[in-house]
Structure formats: C-alpha cells, structure tokens
Symmetry: C2
Subunit: 296 residues, 2 copies
C-alpha cells in the first residue's frame, strides 16, 4: 500500500517524515515547496495532485485553507481526476466544515471516500508524532486508516460524520485564542500593577487558571519571543471559519468575534506572521496608549 | 503559639480543620455560622474579632469581600483593637488590592504586620490542603508564617508587597472566567453543529486547548450540574475588583468587561448562587433565542 502526501509545509513535512520512519511507502507532492529532504528519506516524487492520487490507495492532504483543498481535489489535475475507485482521501488541513462536506459529496460520486482529520498541537507535536487528530467520516473508513493516523498523533478521535473533525477543530481554535487573550488581559494588568509576571506565572499555573496555553506560551512571551509556532494569519483563517459556522447555525460567539478583531488589528500592524501569543502585544499597546492619554 | 481563625465559610472551615489536624491551637470566630464542629476538633471559641486577636499571635481571616475584612479589622470590636504589638494578620480573603494596602497601613501604625494571602482552587482543594496561596507582604513576615500556610496549600508563593497577593488573584480570576467563557462558546457551537460534547472533550483536552478549567468544569457541565464550586456572585465580586483595579491603572480589559456582564446577566436571572460554569447557560440561551428568531 502506498500513501500519497500532498502539502509539505511547516506541519505536513514532519508528519510525512513520521510516516516514512514508520515504514510506509510515500508519494509526495507540493505545489511550491522543495521536497528533496523527504525524497532522501525514501519517498517518491510526483508532478501533480492527480498523479499522486493515481498512484496511491490513500491520499493525505495538509494544506492551508478551504480554497487550497478545493483546488487540490477538484481543480485542474486534481485528486478527484486521478483517484481510483475505492481509494480514500484523508484531508488533515484545517478548513471550513461546510467545504469538507461539499468536497466529500463530490468525491462520493466518484467512489472515493473522504475523512476530514484536522490536527492540533503545532509543529513540535507534528515532529514528535503526538498531534491530537480530530476525525470526521464513516467509522469503517476511519478504522481502516487509524493505524496510519496513529503514527502522526497520540490522540486520534472519530468525532462524527464528515465535517465533524473540522467543527471540533474550530471549537479547539476558539478556546486556544480566548485562552491566549485571557492570559494577556491578566498578565498585562498584573505587570502594570508592578508584579513580576514570572512570579505570577509560578503562583497561578497549578491552580484553576492553569492551561496548556499558559504553560506553552507564557515562557516564550516572557522571553519576548513571538516566533511561530502558530501564525496569527492562520488563526485568523480558523476564526473566520468559526464565526461563519457560528453565524450559519445561529450561535452568538461574542468573545470569539472580539479576539478575531484583535488578531486582524495585529495583522494590520504587520504581525500576521508572528505567533498567536502576540495577542498580548495588542493589550500592551492598549495599556500604553491609555496611560499616555492620562499622563500626556 | 495560638492561631486565630475568623470566617468559617465554605472555604475557611476546611482550612481551619487542616490547621487543627496539623496540631495547631486555634481560637475561632464566625459572625453568623455555627462553629461547633470545629470546637469538637479541639478549637477554642471566642465572642468577637477583638477577642480572637487579643488571645493569638497570628490571626487568619477568610471573609467574602473588602467591606467584610475592613469591618472585621477596623470595625467595632475589630481585630485592630485587640491585636498585640508584634502580632500578624494573614488575610486570606480575596479582596481589592487597594483595600489590602489601606488596612495594612492602619495596622502598621499599631505595630501589627499584615499579609494578604488569597487562595485559588476552590472547596475541594481547601479540604485537601492543596490550595494555591498567593501572598503579598514583607518577606520576613512571610517566612515566619509559611509553615502554617503550607498546611493549607500545596503552592505558597510570595508575590511582592502587601496587595500583590490579591492582584495575582485578580489575574487568576480573569483567566478562570475567560477560560470558562471560551469553553462555553466552543461547546455551544459544536453541540449546535450536531457534535457530541463528550467526544469533543475527549478529542481536544490533551491538545493546546486543554486547561484545568476544561478538565474540572466540562464533566459537571455535561451532567447538567451547576452546584458550586465557586458561586457566580463571588466571581462577580472578584471581576468588579479586577475591572476597578484595571481602570485605576489604565489597563483596558475588554473581554473581562464582557464576561463580567455575562455573570451579571446570570445573576439577574436568579443564578447568582450557581457555579460559575453556568456561564455556558448564558450562551445556550443566546443560541436558543437566535435560532427561534430565525425559525419562529
């Protein structure tokens, strides 16, 4: 069995390498990024999405957003036009749930099954093979690819039908963004009150305020390090998908709306490629501006 | 050495019992609550705050809010009028940092030292003696009472001068409230999208979205159990102190403002005595109202 792997970015590349190390045969393709390091680990190259699909039983995609996946599957020389009857597309990109369902519907008419299987955990966990993978799709199809997914993630969960993986991912991204905003308001307040943020971190991290976001992000924030990690641009993309989905369903998400605007403001300021923990810089600027207004 | 313990509520009572079990001699007083169970464990009773102070070297207070502490210390028959020169007040209540500093200033003129030492972790950790205790005050005074605090908490941290303990606690309470609101927006959205919230919880709890709030609150939310825990009324009190402190310092806290309004709305609806995890009920009602508006 050969696995196709399309999209060798900051996440896809280490994920593909974990499959190679686990002994799987891979056919890889990326529209723009070089693939030589993956080929040197034993992968075969291909010239298009369509070619990958024609040579593999299972095709994994790891692309930035909904239009990229739509294009890779249904665009010119797309996966849909090369995939054999009975093959499986596992889209591990984080995209809009409605787009997952639409693409799955198109593929179904061609005899191709699809799972949406977005991941959480960022590049370090992609490297370690300890991602959390949230899957939507048919249970039997899920079971058939589960061993492959378990080479990339330590937590692999079938959530429900196609689209459910991405809906769970949106829930995940709402929580991550708001937990970053929460530590931002709290730490800017306590720092402006004269407290040492490192001491505050030590004092509260093991209590009810503790979170993975706090443990992962506060140390780099205190170092003034906003290297991604996870880019503000990508978090904007996820929250736009979240807010659109919420609007479709009639679910008000006022705090998510607010933190999305915060991320957009940071992107306008040129921080789109910074880590999403740079949300705290927005709050630092707000406080700085307010204090200067009061004491001109 | 005898320790005075004033305020035997949902938190103070198990904290006092832990000191008794550790072998300390206690003199206890509560303005309204019965103390017989604490007396039966070996504590002595007293008839006023003043009497407690006159019979003890160290006086601990665990009261609801700033006015209660002010009254217990500086009101009629207050601690200040019974305390001996060289004694120490350890106020473990969660109150406004500015009030901590004001009370400490008054006590200093009478030769009484004060620490503010609010706690986090809720009743279960008060019972287990595993609270997180955030302390403000003089380092030497802190060291002299640290062994006592360690009988009530597993994490005892000196943050800075008097008031710092309560400022750190406000930071803690901002994060807790916003982390609850975050899971509320995410879970109402994913549930309305047809996902099983228990499966979503399993899928995301070990990723970057994971938090102590999620682990502690989601299971009881899924059971429809909003027994406190930590009452909405008390969280309103803490966030009012947080917003007031932020305003004094010129630190905008827009999400904290928003979640405070959410808590106030729930209190208006009669849920003031419910656990703060009932924030999710506000979001459920919002979504319910919106869906009915669209499909009347």
């Amino acid at each position: 069995m050969r696995i196709g792997f399309i999209g060798l970015g900051i996440m896809g590349r280490p994920m593909a390498k974990n499959l190679l190390r686990a002994g799987y045969s891979l056919v890889v393709y990326d529209k723009t990024a070089p693939v030589s390091d993956v080929l040197s680990l034993g992968a075969e190259g291909a010239a298009s999405n369509r070619e990958v699909a024609s040579r593999c039983d299972i095709i994994i995609t790891m692309l930035p957003n909904s239009p990229d996946v739509y294009e890779a599957v249904l665009g010119v020389d797309g996966i849909a036009f090369g995939a054999r009857d009975g093959s499986i597309l596992v889209d591990m990109s984080s995209i809009a749930p409605a787009v997952s369902r639409a693409i799955s519907g198109e593929l179904q008419t061609r005899g191709v099954a699809m799972l949406d299987a977005p991941v959480s955990g960022g590049q370090p966990k992609a490297v370690d093979g300890t991602l959390a993978i949230m899957v939507g799709g048919d249970p039997a199809v899920f079971e058939s690819v589960r061993p492959i997914l378990e080479k990339m993630g330590s937590s692999v969960t079938l959530i429900g039908p196609v689209g459910s993986g991405n809906t769970a991912k949106l829930a995940n991204q709402i929580i991550v963004a708001l937990n970053i905003a929460a530590i931002s308001e709290a730490f800017v307040l306590s720092t402006r009150a004269g407290l040492d943020p490192e001491v505050v971190f030590t004092a509260i991290k093991d209590g009810l305020a503790g979170s993975t976001v706090m443990n992962v992000k506060v140390p780099s924030i205190l170092d003034g390090n906003f290297e991604p990690g996870f880019r503000i641009q990508l978090h904007i993309k996820d929250l736009v998908n979240a807010v659109d989905t919420a609007h479709d369903l009639g679910v008000p998400v006022p705090l998510t709306d607010h933190v999305l605007e915060t991320l957009r403001e940071l992107e306008r300021e040129g921080l789109g490629a910074a880590d999403h923990s740079a949300i705290i810089r927005y709050y630092e600027e707000l406080a700085h501006t307010e204090v200067r207004r009061r004491h001109p």
